[in-house]
């Protein structure tokens, strides 16, 4: 488990980015530097169950602050960096982290290379998931963009290739492929979830209390294809992600290893944007593939998807509706296997009906309100409610404001 916010390699890379001289080239725009950013603050209140943190009492631990720097020192080279500070209940704590930091060298329209910390293209929206301004609702649909797996899926130190391929009358294709390594934080959903599983297994096996826990990602790799059809506003997507993480722990006198492989995470996407509305739908499958010491944990293959419609009543006012569903095991949608193991069957699903209204007061300032009614406690809800057992039916609402510059 990493103790510091930045390691030496990261600091060196960022210093290189910031200290690269900005020479004058034949064209005066070679030293173009832009500074942008956004800040948001929200309030979340839930009934019956906590989500992300202590939300049953209402919580202001819901914010994002980012500073984005871009520079183009050479015609085909762009250097960019985004620093992000966020708080989402138990995760984030407003530490300043590198969201991405990369050198982007675009050789041609159909081929470019990015090196550094790159954002990962999962589904249609993962790469810009942190900017509240860009989301129709305060959270992206959790079946695909699960907050407690965000650290694993959001970005990795490594590299990617990308480009746009014209298909003539048939439209065009955006592709990306990447390989890298993810930073784990103590408070990330994956680390908290895995530590909780190891504690539970240790208790069942009689190893004793867990006294040390350390996590490290081995690699993540994957890619995405987005097909922009010749019909204006229509695009289809497919993305694939797979990764492997290892965890060392000591329980009593027993030194053990655990692994959690985010295996074969696939997302199929469809988005159609009309003059005043956007319809989006994505379908996903995912395998946790976890192991504690020599004990295989039965995770099954999760399945989920959503439909979302965002309609602009006015240029500055939009309403959205969402139906988002996820099953922990697609072969056990009713949760019979969980029930047989002594857990409530509703831990096996989460069905979320959400509705939201958003008002862009100015070009830079936005406020939103939304409500979610939920059946089920899937997606690791128990880690926010332990030692209590989460209820089946619950709801939450969010009020949020954002500013971007």
């Amino acid at each position: 488990m990493r103790k510091s916010i930045f390691n030496v390699t990261e600091i060196f890379f960022c210093l290189c980015l910031l200290l690269v001289p900005l020479p004058s080239f034949a064209y005066d725009l070679g030293d173009y530097l832009s500074i942008n950013g956004f800040l948001s603050q929200g309030y979340i209140h839930s009934s019956d169950n906590n989500i992300f943190g202590e939300s049953k009492d209402g919580s202001f631990q819901l914010n994002e602050f980012a500073l984005t720097l871009n520079s183009t020192p050479m015609e085909k080279l762009r250097l960019s960096l985004q620093l992000l500070s966020r708080d989402l209940g138990k995760e984030g704590d407003n530490d300043i982290l590198i969201d991405w930091a990369m050198a982007d060298y675009r050789l041609t329209d159909s081929f470019g290379v990015r090196l550094g910390k790159v954002k990962l293209p999962v589904g249609l929206y993962n790469q810009h998931r942190d900017s509240d301004f860009l989301r129709p609702m305060a959270f992206l649909p959790q079946s695909v963009y699960t907050e407690n797996k965000r650290t694993m899926h959001v970005g990795a130190w490594g590299g990617s290739i990308y480009g746009n391929i014209s298909l003539g009358h048939a439209g065009d294709l955006d592709y990306q492929a990447y390989y890298g390594k993810v930073d784990f934080r103590d408070d990330s959903g994956q680390a908290v979830g895995m530590e909780s599983l190891i504690k539970k297994t240790s208790m069942q096996q009689g190893w004793g209390p867990v006294t040390s826990f350390d996590s490290e990602n081995e690699y993540v790799t994957g890619g995405s294809l987005i097909y922009n059809l010749p019909v204006d506003g229509l695009r289809l997507g497919f993305s694939y992600f797979t990764g492997k993480s290892e965890f060392d722990f000591t329980a009593g006198g027993f030194d053990g290893k655990a692994s959690g492989n985010s295996k074969d995470f696939v997302v199929f996407s469809l988005e159609y944007t009309g003059p005043n509305w956007t319809f989006a739908s994505e379908y996903t499958e995912f395998t946790g593939d976890r192991k504690v010491a020599s004990i295989d944990v039965y995770d099954g293959r999760s399945q989920g998807g959503y439909v979302q419609l965002c309609y602009h009543l006015h240029e500055s006012v939009a309403v959205s509706v969402l139906y988002d569903v996820v099953y922990a095991d697609k072969d056990d949608r009713d949760g019979d296997r969980l029930e047989a193991s002594g857990l409530p069957d509703y831990f096996g699903w989460r069905k979320d009906f959400g509705t939201a209204i958003r008002w862009d007061i100015t070009d830079r300032w936005m406020v939103r309100a939304e409500y979610h009614n939920i059946d089920g406690a899937g997606l690791g809800l128990s880690i926010y409610n332990s030692p209590s057992v989460p209820d089946r039916y619950w709801d939450y609402y969010v009020l949020k404001t954002s500013y971007n510059f």
Partner: protein
């Protein structure tokens, strides 16, 4: 036979010119740029950052108008988007680290000045602001 063909070409050219004038905006590039026409699909890709290079390999430098009627009309006619959708598109590129929005300049004069001084540049101005400091590029219907 040949005369008929030339007359038809002349008619088509005049029609295209009329269309551009009627649209109030015109597309302009640097006078050194060999391009005379661009099909509407290519213009759309250039302004959405999907086409980034001229045929000689130099990067295309795109300039935008402020959010005025001309901008709204250009974005709607050529990019088939509303001003809000266009803005959100570039914000997505910016905050995902995948692209940098084009520079926005104050008015036609600034765009002409920027385009005149940069062989890679492209922008759009009001038709009645056109002068010989820049080159007018006709927007044609998609050909490829």
């Amino acid at each position: 036979m040949f005369k008929t063909r030339y007359l038809l070409l002349l008619f088509l050219s005049l029609t295209l010119a009329q269309e551009s004038l009627a649209a109030d905006y015109i597309l302009v590039v640097n006078k050194e740029n060999p391009v005379h026409t661009l099909d509407s699909e290519m213009v759309k890709k250039i302004f959405l950052g999907k086409r980034n290079f001229w045929e000689d390999g130099h990067r295309i430098e795109v300039f935008l108008q402020p959010e005025n009627e001309l901008h709204e009309k250009f974005i709607k006619d050529v990019l088939k988007k509303s001003t809000r959708q266009f803005k959100m598109y570039w914000r997505r590129e910016l905050y995902s680290g995948t692209g940098l929005p084009p520079q926005k300049l104050e008015d036609d004069a600034k765009i002409k000045e920027a385009v005149a001084s940069d062989p890679r540049a492209i922008g759009y101005i009001a038709a009645d602001s056109f002068d010989d400091s820049v080159k007018w590029v006709r927007i044609t219907k998609e050909t490829n």
